[in-house]
């Protein structure tokens, strides 16, 4: 009961102050602007709570969708702003000497597979490859053997094509778009369901850059 009066006092104070400034600030007066952008490396989030949240995000996206592509597109859209924002945040956290904007496709993808991946999943991506098909020089593949987001997702029988890592694809797409490399990123399941498969959840993120980006890359490479 002792704490009750203080709670009331806070509750009465906050709206009064907020209305006078037209802006509501926390009771201690500290906003996000008072807090540092760097955080200690050991600070991690609970995977259980993330899995719970992500499960809800998938079922939210699943409402009123007509097909699997539509669902994946919605998941992609949820991830897109995260990629945009992480790009700036992670560049800021880089040591000052390597605080460089990625200027070519390789630098950008390396930033994504190392810095971004380590930030999100605490390990780098498993592979980064360029498409060997000469007809599609604009395609790159990022491989993750065991996407963290899919760990507690079981895909129902009739929806084999669905890969909820489309959310991660959205994050990658956001980072590419933000850096000025417009791209379409899609997630594809590559693990076979056979017995003894080492990585049943293996996922490939196909990054397809827009033609003008490839053209610019060639032009910049020459000069």
């Amino acid at each position: 009961m002792a704490s009750q009066p203080t709670k009331w006092a806070l509750g009465n104070q906050a709206p009064a102050r907020g209305s006078s400034q037209g802006l509501r600030t926390p009771a201690n007066g500290k906003t996000i602007y008072n807090r540092p952008l760097n955080r200690s490396r050991t600070q991690e989030l609970s995977q259980a709570s993330f899995a719970y949240l992500f499960g809800e995000m998938v079922s939210y996206a699943q409402r009123r969708v007509t097909d699997i592509q539509d669902l994946e597109k919605r998941l992609n859209n949820q991830g897109h702003p995260i990629g945009l924002k992480l790009l700036d945040l992670l560049l800021y956290r880089e040591p000052p000497r390597s605080q460089l904007r990625p200027l070519n496709i390789i630098a950008l993808l390396q930033f994504i597979t190392t810095v971004l991946w380590k930030h999100l999943f605490a390990r780098p991506a498993d592979a980064l490859e360029k498409s060997s098909n000469p007809e599609t020089p604009d395609e790159y593949m990022i491989t993750d053997n065991e996407p963290l987001v899919n760990q507690y997702i079981s895909v129902p029988k009739g929806m084999d094509q669905l890969n909820c890592a489309a959310f991660v694809a959205g994050v990658i797409e956001g980072a590419c778009d933000g850096a000025g490399f417009a791209a379409r990123v899609t997630a594809h399941s590559m693990g076979t369901k056979t017995e003894g498969e080492l990585w049943p959840g293996k996922t490939i993120f196909l990054v397809k850059f827009q033609p003008e980006i490839v053209e610019r890359e060639q032009f910049l490479g020459k000069s």
């Binding site: 802006l23 790009l87 933000g178 850096a179």
Partner: protein, 160 residues
Amino acid sequence: MSYYFAIIGTQDNPLFEYEFGTSKQGGDGVARFPEQARHMNQFIVHGSLDIVEEVQWANGSMYLKCIDRFYNNFVSCWMTGGNVKFLLLHAPSQPAATTTTRTSIANPTSPQTEEAIKQFFTEVYENWIKAIMSPFYHVNMEARSPIFRQRVVAAGKKYL
């Protein structure tokens, strides 16, 4: 020295504007652009965007230094990772208005000025990231936060 600071989004759309004067050497922090030239600031800054697009691919660093000049107006640029441009137009006060004692501070491309502007941009960048981290902020949205504005004002006072 008078300053005009603008943040330009990825589609060359303005997101934030602020006009101020120097607080160094006893300045009062009030911009003193000649009245008939003041409205030109936006045009000059907008005109320098073409040069930003050329320079941004040649150099990966965020601080692109002084990139453009239009008569007595100099434009410095900082490019964020998300392709948002910070542009600072700085105009030394007209020589007619002052005496010859201020030769050293008048040079807008001197290393000291460059460094001061860099520190200003770095501080604004930090606050910019905090502003865009808001889950309600979408790309190319105007920065309306009064606290963000306060912080930019403080950075301007501190370094320029």
